[in-house]
């Protein structure tokens, strides 16, 4: 008999907000000295209470909107109760019956729409490290905002899972709500896998949850292994049990982590420390307006307006930085009779390093001649000042320690100068201005 896999995905993404979900601690915990980003709230000390980080809620809504979800006018936080040493309060504040974003969908490469059940807001736990038989707890991550995105069981092959996951990652980065780095744990995947005889449409009576898998590659391998394992078991007439399994990268196999009998009863109930979350239409409009052009819309526009091929458009919209760079080149190229198509060809084929190369240099290389570069310090300084004035939020981010924010300001200067500013001279000038700024 032939079998069809039925797969649903749960994706957790850590938001890159400045402070944590329910307290004022810095959420930028990665690589920091353990237990230095903590306070009574995220340590779960007696008497401490959660206080909602509005930025996180807005980011969650942005994710929901980008995934075509309906934003609930009223939603509710609930407590998910379970014991684990990294869970300071003995419960996680999450959403369950009344999530913030519901009923979304995302189109993947094969043309299929993946239905999204929900995108809800919750908080991360602390982190355990096992050293020489001892277990150490670091609460720096405790309370960092997380958004969980749950699909319906709409995937029937591994390629679709990979594609969807990559698309999500792209969306998070376009929205600027997360670095979505799998290795750092910014983005975590869980898959619910089962198989059914081909041609049937009922959901299988069991599902195997694959958890704690920290890369796309391992997730794909684990799902492939699991599909094979389940088909073999069914062929032998065995009953597959509902359970949670992990991935053993050495053995290249999944292994049981928890059986159904050991499953938690989370005893969800409405979080009494927090009021109902309400979103009014004004807020919703404001947040909708903040959503940037998403990669698939950008790609469509590149094809329709600039005459690119779909393949070119897809490559050029992989990251927002690359797409922005390309558009500056196109804008600048107009003055030098360089067609968008030529610019696209060049970037797609030559793959220039956009962090070190200037848009003008691209034009120069295409045209084979010098088209002018701004190297004058006073002129660069004036452009830098303008870019800073136009983007004070990025300046704030930079001041708060997000040093990569400077890239956005460089981008700003590039736009102002039609790509002619000399980055190697510009960067120290920007740094100096930012340093002197109060």
């Amino acid at each position: 008999m032939n079998y069809e896999p039925v797969i649903g995905l749960e994706v957790h993404v850590e938001l890159n907000t400045r402070s944590k979900m329910f307290c004022r601690c810095s959420a930028d915990y990665f690589g920091k000295e353990p237990n230095t980003h903590t306070c009574p709230v995220c340590l779960g000390l007696p008497g401490a209470l959660p206080y909602i980080n509005e930025q996180a809620i807005e980011d969650c809504m942005k994710i929901g909107l980008a995934l075509n979800c309906k934003i609930s006018e009223k939603s509710l936080f609930e407590r998910k109760n379970y014991f684990y040493p990294d869970l300071a309060k003995g419960y996680q504040i999450s959403q369950y019956r009344w999530p913030l974003c519901i009923n979304g969908k995302l189109k993947i490469e094969n043309g299929q729409w993946i239905r999204i059940n929900r995108a809800h807001q919750e908080e991360d736990t602390g982190k355990l490290t096992h050293v020489d038989g001892a277990t150490l707890i670091d609460f720096n991550r405790s309370g960092v905002p997380l958004v969980e995105i749950v699909t319906e069981p709409d995937f029937h092959d591994v390629e679709a899972v990979r594609d969807y996951s990559k698309k999500l990652q792209q969306v998070f980065r376009y929205l600027g709500v997360s670095n979505a780095d799998m290795e750092r744990g910014d983005m975590r995947l869980e898959a619910n896998v089962s198989v059914r005889p081909e041609g049937t449409t009922d959901l299988p009576s069991y599902r195997v949850e694959l958890k704690n898998i920290n890369s796309f590659r391992f997730m794909v391998a684990a799902i492939e292994y699991e599909i094979k394992r389940q088909i073999e078991a069914l062929e032998k007439g065995e009953k597959i049990l509902q359970e949670t399994r992990g991935w053993d990268a050495e053995q290249k196999s999944t292994y049981i982590q928890r059986s159904k009998e050991e499953a938690h009863d989370y005893r969800y109930f409405p979080e009494p420390d927090l009021p109902q979350l309400t979103v009014n239409s004004k807020q919703l409009t404001e947040i909708t307006e903040e959503i940037p052009e998403l990669p698939w819309d950008k790609a469509k526009r590149f094809v329709a307006d600039l005459g690119l091929t779909e393949a070119q458009a897809k490559i050029l919209t992989q990251s927002k930085e690359l797409a922005d760079f390309f558009e500056i080149v196109v804008e600048h190229g107009k003055k030098h009779a360089v067609l968008a198509k030529d610019a696209a060809n060049f970037i797609v084929n030559k793959k220039p390093d956009i962090n070190s190369m200037l848009p003008t240099q691209i034009i120069e290389e295409i045209k084979g001649k010098n088209v002018g570069k701004i190297e004058d310090e006073a002129e660069l300084k004036s452009l830098a000042e303008q870019a800073i004035q136009a983007d004070l939020k990025t300046v704030e981010d930079y001041k708060a320690g997000k040093l990569t924010a400077i890239q956005a300001l460089i981008g700003g200067v590039m736009k102002l100068s039609a790509g002619k500013a000399d980055v190697s001279k510009l960067k120290p000038i920007l740094e100096k201005i930012l340093k002197e700024k109060p």
Binding site: P46, G47, L49, Y51, D265, F269, L274
Partner: protein, 449 residues
């Protein structure tokens, strides 16, 4: 001049302004009192030998930075918090100092003070009687003039009931009036911090000091409570509702007599007495003992034996009982029949009050069905203990404010009159309490220790 320690808070502030005595003398007087009487009462668990500040007694369930905070539990026997509750910060700003931390039922779960891991607090009016609970030590300290005022917490009556049993003023503010940040949570949707004082005007002042939002408690209202002094208050024409549900089976006849006399007094003062119905009162205790323990079972998960030292075996039996009750009520298959149903009852009780307040400005009745009982009398019967909160619990279910004002004695023991108000309307219940207090002066009666 009167004995310094018998002065109310507002009188003390005036005397300090007049330089009748210094803050150092004030603190010394209270410390002497504590030294003399605390061994008899066991009201304080921890005493600070301050030389300045207005000395206040703080229930040990409220977090104080650098000062051991046990909440009456063995589990926190050595917990020295790294932060202050918002109410403490607010009081410090007003020149108040923490005179000491007061005994309470473990994690505020109890109605007699007998559930503390640090021994029972005695009622200053009769050392063989319970002081009520759970703010036992705070109330005993105010009654025995061992502090200018105290803070308590009230989840189902823990300020009002002991205030009634010890003959002092106790105010449970509206839910959301005072920040709960730093009050060790019992049941988060019920808890409120409130003043325990020697007079109604003192309660007004302390509420003004501690109220207002702090951006730490999401359920707390931003604005401070602020009204002019209560002097000259007139309650003519005010409508006082009397619910017949508060005068049924279980109410001690001696207490009933005192309460009826108090209602008569209010009428003499010009108030109009109207009958109101609070139909779902009899379900209040049942709903409370589902919803409260549900929240408790979650709130107390943090004491998981990994931090704070000691295992969960260190919980006393009442805490364990409520954790078990709540865990059960929230479990899959039971949630709808218990938690969800109790939540519906809560809505009905809120509705009762909304309807009743269409007919009246305040509701009055007894705080407690009896006066203080003998130590040990109910310790083997948790249900009897729970029922002693039948008149106070409903206010916490509805989130409305309630005041207990001394209104006389039954067989030598104090009785408190409960005055309930609309949500956010502490002003009117304080007015009624003040008018009654000034007309009767029961608050001037002091226990003989």
């Amino acid at each position: 001049m009167n004995n310094i320690t018998s002065l109310t808070l507002t009188e003390t502030l005036e005397a300090l302004k007049r330089k009748d005595f210094s803050e150092e003398e004030l603190n010394k007087a209270y410390l002497e009192g504590i030294e003399k009487f605390n061994p008899k009462l066991n009201a304080f668990l921890e005493v600070r030998k301050n030389k300045s500040g207005i000395p206040a007694a703080i229930k040990d369930a409220i977090i104080t930075r650098g000062i051991k905070t046990t909440a009456g539990s063995k589990i926190l026997s050595n917990f020295i918090p790294p932060y202050n509750a918002t109410v403490i910060e607010n009081l410090l700003e007003q020149g108040v100092s923490v005179l000491g931390k007061t005994n309470c039922d473990e994690f505020t779960m109890g109605s007699s003070g007998e559930n503390s891991a640090y021994g029972v607090t005695k009622n200053p009016w009769d050392l063989n009687k319970v002081p009520g609970g759970s703010s036992s030590g705070s109330v005993a300290a105010v009654a025995a003039d061992l502090c200018t005022f105290a803070l308590g917490t009230d989840t189902g009556g823990s300020i009002r009931q002991p205030a009634s049993l010890c003959g002092v003023v106790g105010l449970k503010p509206s839910y959301g009036r005072v920040s709960r940040y730093g009050a060790i949570a019992m049941a988060s949707s019920f808890d409120q911090i409130g003043p325990i004082t020697k007079s109604v005007d003192d309660a007004r002042l302390v509420l003004e000091w501690i109220s207002g939002g702090d951006n730490y408690d999401s359920n707390c209202r931003k604005e401070k409570f602020k009204i002019k002094s209560l002097a000259g208050t007139n309650i003519k024409g005010l409508k006082v509702g009397v619910p017949k549900e508060y005068f049924g089976k279980g109410l001690d006849s001696g207490v009933e007599k005192v309460i009826q006399a108090a209602i008569k007094k209010l009428e003499e003062l010009g108030a109009e007495v109207v009958e109101v119905a609070l139909l779902h009162t009899e379900y209040g205790v049942a709903a409370y003992y589902i919803l409260g323990p549900s929240e408790i079972s979650s709130n107390y998960a943090r004491f998981d034996g990994i931090r704070y030292g000691g295992t969960r075996n260190n919980f006393g039996s009442e805490v364990k009982r409520r954790i078990m009750l709540g865990t059960y009520s929230l479990s899959t298959g039971y949630y709808d029949d218990y938690y969800a149903k109790a939540a519906k009852v809560r809505t009905l009780i809120r509705g009762d009050f909304e309807k009743a307040f269409e007919k009246c400005d305040v509701i009055v009745g007894p705080v407690s069905p009896t006066t203080a009982w003998d130590l040990g009398a109910k310790t083997d019967n948790p249900l009897a203990m729970y029922l002693s909160d039948v008149y106070t619990i409903v206010a916490n279910l509805a989130g409305i404010p309630g005041l207990s004002v001394p209104c006389g004695f039954s067989e030598g023991l104090p009785v408190g009159l409960q005055i309930l108000g609309k949500q956010w309307d502490e002003q009117t219940i304080l007015k009624v309490g003040y008018a009654y207090e000034q007309a009767t002066e029961w608050y001037k009666e002091k226990p003989k220790l």
